[in-house]
Structures are given as structure tokens and as C-alpha cells.
Amino acid sequence: MNDAPEKRAIISGIGISRIGRKTDVADLDLTTESALAAIADAGLRPDDIDGIASMGDTPLDAVEQHVGGRIGSFPMVGTGGLLAPVMGAFLAVASGAARHVLVYRTVKMMGGSILPPSGAAPPAAPPAAPPAATRASAGESGAREGMGSVMGDMAPLLTYHAYSAANWLAMHAQRHMYLYGTTKEQLGWLAVNSRRNAALNERAVYREPMTLDDYLGARPVSDPFGLLDCDVPVDGSISVVISSADYAPDCPNPPVRVEAMGGSTGPGAWDQRPDYPKMASVDAAGELWSKTDLTPGDVDVAELYDGFTFLAFAWLEALGFCGTGESGPFVEGGARIALDGALPLNTYGGQLSAGRMHGYWVLHEACLQLRGEAGERQVAGAEVAAVSVGGGPIAGCILLTR
């Protein structure tokens, strides 16, 4: 379908804050940094912002107060997971409910929650963190942050065994290995490739070279996942300005066009799908491809959610870059997914090495690539980018073009 409303939106500006580990910078500080940068990047002033959307952590009204603009009034999108605010913004500018919407995501390692759309108080934190003797890992805080929305479909009686998305997704990976012969080494190649890219990203938090042996030797978390299969929590903020497409001629930087989007909360949630270990990503991807004449073969660069290594594998298959069960061989050796490969993947270093910005760094990097501003990480001639977020019952994906 060639009249999908999201085609009437562009990304006119992007901004990113300082990124770091356990900084004592207030989230409001990070948010104002990225938001003001994005607004300026779009050639706008705060007054021009007539819509603000986010899943937190900084509350919308704090941003309205400190940055400026108006929160505005438009519907939220029910699917799309972490990118739902971005998708809502696309529809808001497409419908004329707003002209320039600021969307941000700000995360802090200590604490962290997802702001429910209603603006009500975040859900109460689940059980306390493990003792300090155990090193913090991504799965731990990832579980806390995902609990509020995801646990609805997992009755409390289930949580007495598996407390973390690391456990749940490890079982998906295990089943994938059983069905298709996917290996731990193949998961490792994805991590190695992402670390190689992170070395070229001055904001990435883990940039030291990593070999496959380093990956294989990492501390086990939940088999087959070790520490280097899990993303790295950071403090940071990323903002984008979504504008109506008719603003494109006045956009100081190359506008990034929205070709299609798809989202799903996935029937069957974590373990009830007949096609397990497939996830909501296949439904989200199906929706996306139904709205465009472009095909997976047209994609020049892919920024796919890697909360865990296996999630990027699932997205490669869901989006049709390779067939079901073929993601292991696709990634093996790292050549196909390298910056000069057939499908450069997670060019900014991924959540695995750059940092967990909850799906917003994939968006930021895709925009840089399409604008030709990715510097040493630039994929030559990038014209079409795929962006995806989510795992399990949460999935959203967007196709962007120059």
C-alpha cells in the first residue's frame, strides 16, 4: 500500500547527549541536552515544537517546562514497543494534529522505568537487585524496565523461576539452536562485529577490541547467553524531531523520509506461539513490508535491536534478510554484516557495545547513515535503512530512506 500515513512524516532533526556508565548526571540534564540539539538540528526553535512524546524517563511536562514547546494532543500507538512514541509522532504530523513533534528516550542505569502512556505513576519495581557481589548485567535492569508491560501476560506463578528477559530469550535461542543448528560461535560473530563498529563510535562505552575467544570466555548468564550476549546499560538521551513532510524543503539537514512502519505485541506472548521461537517481530515485519514496494534486498544498512545477541538474529529472519533458521550462517565470520559487507548491521556498535538506548540509538544511527554523516562508520551510498526494536511480545520496525 503506497498511501501509508507514515509516508507523510520526515525526521527533520536528531540529537544525542553525553553517554556514560553510572554517571551522576540527572536525566533532565541529559534530556535537555539531546532535545535542544535535535531541535536546533531541525532548524527549529523550541517554540516550534507542538508535540512531545516519550516513554520516559524524564516526564513530558518537565521537558515542556525546561525545553519549551507544547506536549500537544494526539493518540499514542498501541504497538511498536519502544518506538511507539515515534510512530505516534509520524501519525500526528501526517494527520495535522501537530507539525513538529519532539520524541526522546532518556535512560539512567540506576533505576529506570517506562512511563505508561497515561502518564500515571510507573509500575512498582519488582524484587530488589541481587547483592553487590554479583556484577550488574544488562539482563537485570532490562528485566525491571520491561516488567510493567510484559508481565501482564505472564501470570505471577511463572516468575518464580525466571526473573529476567535473559532467561526467557535464552530459551528462544536454545530452541533455535536445536531446530537449526545455530551455534554459540555464530552469536559471538554478531557481538564481535558490533564491537568492531563501536571502536569507530566515540560515544560507545565499550570500544576495546574483542575477539571471538573473548566472547566465548565471558561469564555465563543464562545459557547460551554470557555477559557479552547482553546489552550494556548506560546513561544517555537521544531525541528526534518528527516533522510533516512538507517541511522537507526548509530542513537544514537532509530530511530522512519514512517509508513504512510495523508493530506488534505478538499473539502468544513469550512461549505460546505455535511458531516458537519466532516472536512478535515477524508480525511487525510483515506489517512493514505490506506498506511498501521496497523489499529486504533494497535495504543498505540495518540497525536491529540487540538487547541480546539472539534478538538481532531473530530480527534478521523476521525482516526477511535471510530465511528462517539461516541467521547463524548469515552472520558467521562477520563479513556479510561488516561496514563494507552486503548488509552492514548495527553500525554504531549496537546496544551490545555502544549502549542500551532502548531502540533510539538504532534510529539515530540510521539517520546519520542516510544523511551521509556517519564519518568513519559511513556505509557507502546508504539510501534505505531498516530500524527495529523489541523482543518477545514487543516489536516495532521502521523503514527509512534518503
Binding site: P130, P131, Q174, D271, P274
Partner: protein, 142 residues
């Protein structure tokens, strides 16, 4: 919390839909919600049958037999109760009563190297603490 005190496990919060399950566990029985109109087994317990929209649901005792569908060896505790219990094997098992009837549990009494997708399992009730017994699974005997 002192070092001599055992952390409490996270405790179930039985409600109208799940109370039957926990009452059965106390009797060392595995009961799964079943639609009384169409016979569809439902887990996790819900308020309505997604197969036929009936609300006539009740717990029925099942055989306790299952096959291993997938698993993971948990090496990192995500809750204080598990700190001294790692590693343990979290598993998704498929109860024999219905294709796709998945049950999240643990596998016990089975070395890691012997875990195999499809292996037959049977339920075993394990006292995790004086307050909490859980239905876990072990390799089927005989």
C-alpha cells in the same frame, strides 16, 4: 537481612483464576485450567477461553507428564533467593495433554549434559522453602 537469614522466595499471589492451581500444588497435584465447554487446556490461567470464549473454566488434574521443549542454565541470580542456588535449569516443558500446552518450570535431577529436547519428564513437587512448594520436572522414570 542478616547473613544467617535465608531470603524469602518471591511468593505467589493467588487470585480467583489461579487459586485452584496453588491449592492443588499444596496437595502435590498438578492442575491446569480447562474450558468446560470445549475442553481446551489454558495455561496461564485466564478468565475466558480463547478457543470458544466460554467463561466456564475449571482446574483439572493432569498426568504430570511432559516433554522438554527448551531450557536455559541460569547462572546469574536475578533475585536474592536464588543467589545460593545457581546454576539451575529453567525450562519450558510441553504437557502431554495438549499440543502447545507450555509450562514454565525447572528441570531437576538431570545433569546438564543429559538435557535433550523432547525428553520425557514427570512432575515432582519440591519444597523451595517452608512456605513455598513448586511443581518442577525431572526425567521420567520407567
Amino acid at each position: 537481612m542478616t547473613t544467617t537469614e535465608q531470603p524469602r522466595p518471591p511468593m505467589p499471589l493467588p487470585d480467583e483464576s489461579t487459586r485452584f492451581f496453588w491449592d492443588a500444588v499444596a496437595r502435590h497435584e498438578l492442575c491446569i485450567q480447562r474450558c468446560q465447554t470445549c475442553g481446551f487446556y489454558i495455561h496461564y490461567p485466564k478468565v475466558m477461553c480463547r478457543n470458544c470464549q466460554s467463561r466456564d473454566l475449571a482446574g483439572e488434574r493432569v498426568s504430570g507428564k511432559a516433554t522438554l521443549y527448551s531450557w536455559t542454565i541460569a547462572s546469574q541470580p536475578f533475585h536474592p533467593f536464588w543467589v545460593d542456588k545457581i546454576p539451575y535449569t529453567i525450562a519450558t516443558v510441553e504437557l502431554v495433554e495438549q499440543p502447545g500446552l507450555m509450562f514454565l518450570t525447572q528441570v531437576v535431577d538431570c545433569p546438564e549434559a543429559e538435557l535433550e529436547a523432547g525428553m520425557p519428564l514427570e512432575v515432582t513437587f519440591v519444597e523451595m522453602s517452608p512456605e513455598l512448594t513448586l511443581p518442577l520436572f525431572r526425567p521420567a522414570r520407567g
